[in-house]
Every structure is written in structure tokens, then in C-alpha cells.
């Protein structure tokens, strides 16, 4: 029975999420975007559908734990993503995004399940060779509120055609107040090719990190 519950939880996790730490948090109109973010202290899995070029609706499941694995929290939410503004420049693109979730949270630092809201904002600027992003999101529930703030800088090795894989080097600074009060720094290698995007690296403590996006 316990195994069945774990399996069900795992599949719920596989059905979730909008991530806050990638390039655009949604795809193009009428497209699905599948996203995942995995490390020892944070795991997120998500799926959303863009109904317009500006709006996407999806579900998200995420789990956080402290470095020593003592405190744990899981979130399951419906997420709305809205492109608030875009600037299309000859060689670049800049965006402001709203990401907001409504759902529930459970954890071992409190009993039962609590209603949760998770408003957030992301700003980004990118060219074909340079990428920058900053985001902030609050996971707020009665007596169990935490924040995730992220900043990223990336540069690609070379400019690529649409049908060629493009490798990047990305450095991320992320602070998850549930996990630690300090920022963690994670250098990663990113490859973007047509429909997929993968990132792999390790933070300065040696904890591995893997992210992916698939747009279809």
C-alpha cells in the first residue's frame, strides 16, 4: 500500500509544474512544454499548454529538502503563465513574465496539507549568443512560506542555425529559503537543439543538477 502511494505520488510529480529557472517559461501558441529541474535539494516537473502567444496553463509538482534531508516540503499546483511584456529588438529579445500557482503543500515541518499560492515574476534578456535572467517566486502557505530567487547568465560558444545543436555555458545563483539562507552557485552546460533544451552541472558543493525542457 505504501509503495502504491509512493508510485502515485511519483506520477503526480511527473504531471506537474512550471519552472522558474529556464529561458521562456512557456512555448509558442498551441504548444505543450514539458519541463524538469532536478537536484538534491529541489525537484520540479511540469507541463503547460500555451493557449495564446502570451498565456499558458499547466500543472506543477515540486519538492524541496534541506541539505541534511531533515526538512521536506512538496507542492502540487495549477500554474498560469503570462507574458506581461516583450521587446523584440533586431538582435535580441527581452521579456517580463508573471508565473502564478494555486495548489496545496505538504511537509514534515507541519501536519496535514495546506492551501498554497505561489506568485512570481521573471525578467529576461537574450540574444543568439548571450542570455540573462532574474526571477523571484514566493511559495506562500499559512506557517509555511518560502521564497526562491534566481539569477542566471549564459553565453554560447557560437551562433548556430535552427537545425544545429547550440552549446552554452550558464552560471546560476539561486537562493531557496526553505533549503538554505545562502545563495548556491551552479555552473552548467546547456544544449539547445530544435525542440529540446538540456542543462547539466553541479553546484559549488558538488551537488549535481539536471534541467530539461521539451516543446512540441
Amino acid at each position: 500500500m505504501k509503495q502504491a502511494i509512493s508510485l502515485a505520488s511519483f506520477f503526480l510529480l511527473l504531471l506537474g509544474a512550471v519552472s522558474h529557472s529556464f529561458a521562456a517559461p512557456m512555448g509558442f501558441k498551441n504548444s505543450w512544454m514539458l519541463m524538469g529541474d532536478f537536484s538534491k535539494t529541489y525537484q520540479e516537473f511540469g507541463l503547460n499548454y500555451a493557449t495564446t502567444a502570451n498565456d499558458a496553463f499547466g500543472i506543477s509538482a515540486s519538492a524541496m529538502q534541506t541539505d541534511n534531508s531533515v526538512s521536506k516540503q512538496q507542492n502540487l499546483e495549477a500554474v498560469y503563465t503570462r507574458k506581461l511584456a516583450r521587446w523584440n529588438l533586431p538582435e535580441a529579445q527581452a521579456n517580463i513574465w508573471f508565473i502564478g500557482g494555486l495548489g496545496s503543500t505538504t511537509g514534515n515541518t507541519f501536519t496535514g496539507s495546506k492551501a498554497m499560492a505561489s506568485p512570481g515574476i521573471q525578467v529576461d534578456y537574450e540574444t543568439t549568443r548571450f542570455y540573462s535572467m532574474a526571477s523571484a517566486r514566493v511559495y506562500t502557505a499559512q506557517g509555511a512560506t518560502s521564497k526562491i530567487t534566481t539569477a542566471r547568465l549564459g553565453a554560447s560558444f557560437y551562433e548556430a542555425d535552427y537545425d544545429e545543436p547550440q552549446p552554452w555555458v550558464v552560471i546560476e545563483a539561486r537562493r531557496m529559503t526553505f533549503v538554505c539562507k545562502q545563495y548556491e552557485f551552479t555552473p552548467m552546460v546547456r544544449v539547445i537543439h530544435k525542440r529540446y533544451f538540456v542543462e547539466a552541472g553541479a553546484n559549488l558543493s558538488g551537488q549535481l543538477r539536471f534541467n530539461f525542457m521539451y516543446n512540441y
Binding site: G27, S31, Q93
Partner: protein
């Protein structure tokens, strides 16, 4: 002789129409393959489209028409705008998508 001239003129006009088969759209804001994918998908769905090529380096989209069809520049422009990008200009070029790609590769 007059009839022959008319036939040659019609043939030349047809040839020139066949040659002017593609639209070259200059687009602002197109920076990654995810952007390219959205534009490619939406324009490929249009009835008159034979082939689409998104040239990220030069920030242009090449749209080739099916034989006997005429590209609707307004619709192409609207699809790109609906995908979230800005159209700077649309011009007609004599190359097909394959020819344009070959030309770009030769430039490298």
C-alpha cells in the same frame, strides 16, 4: 510570328512567376530555436506554403509557395506577430528555400 511572340511572352511570364516563389521576411526578436519552431510550425500549416526556413543568424524567415499558389504576405506577417515577434519587412526573392539554404551555406 505574332502568335509565337505571345507564346514566348506568356512562357517567360510563367517562368518569372515560378522563380519569384518565396517571401523573405525580416523578423525582430527571433533569438533561439524555440522561437524558430513556433514560427515554422504556424507558417507550415498555411495552405499555400511548400517550405519554411528560419535563418536565426540573419533573422529572416523564408517561405516558399506551393506550385500555382500565391503567398499571402498579410497572413504570413500576422502569423509571425501572433507568435510573438515583430515583422520588419517582407520582400520577394527569386530563390526557393533549398536554394536560399545552399546560398547561405556557400557564404560560410
Amino acid at each position: 510570328m505574332k502568335q509565337l511572340n505571345i507564346i514566348i511572352a506568356i512562357a517567360l511570364m510563367s517562368l518569372s512567376q515560378m522563380a519569384l516563389a518565396s517571401a523573405k521576411v525580416t523578423v525582430n526578436g527571433m533569438v533561439c530555436s524555440f522561437c524558430a519552431q513556433g514560427i515554422e510550425k504556424s507558417i507550415s500549416k498555411m495552405d499555400e506554403t511548400k517550405a519554411v526556413f528560419v535563418d536565426l543568424k540573419n533573422k529572416v524567415v523564408i517561405v516558399e509557395a506551393k506550385e500555382g499558389k500565391t503567398l499571402n504576405e498579410k497572413l504570413i506577417s500576422q502569423e509571425i506577430i501572433d507568435s510573438g515577434y515583430d515583422v520588419v519587412k517582407i520582400e520577394t526573392i527569386p530563390q526557393t528555400v533549398a536554394q536560399f539554404r545552399t546560398q547561405q551555406k556557400d557564404k560560410k
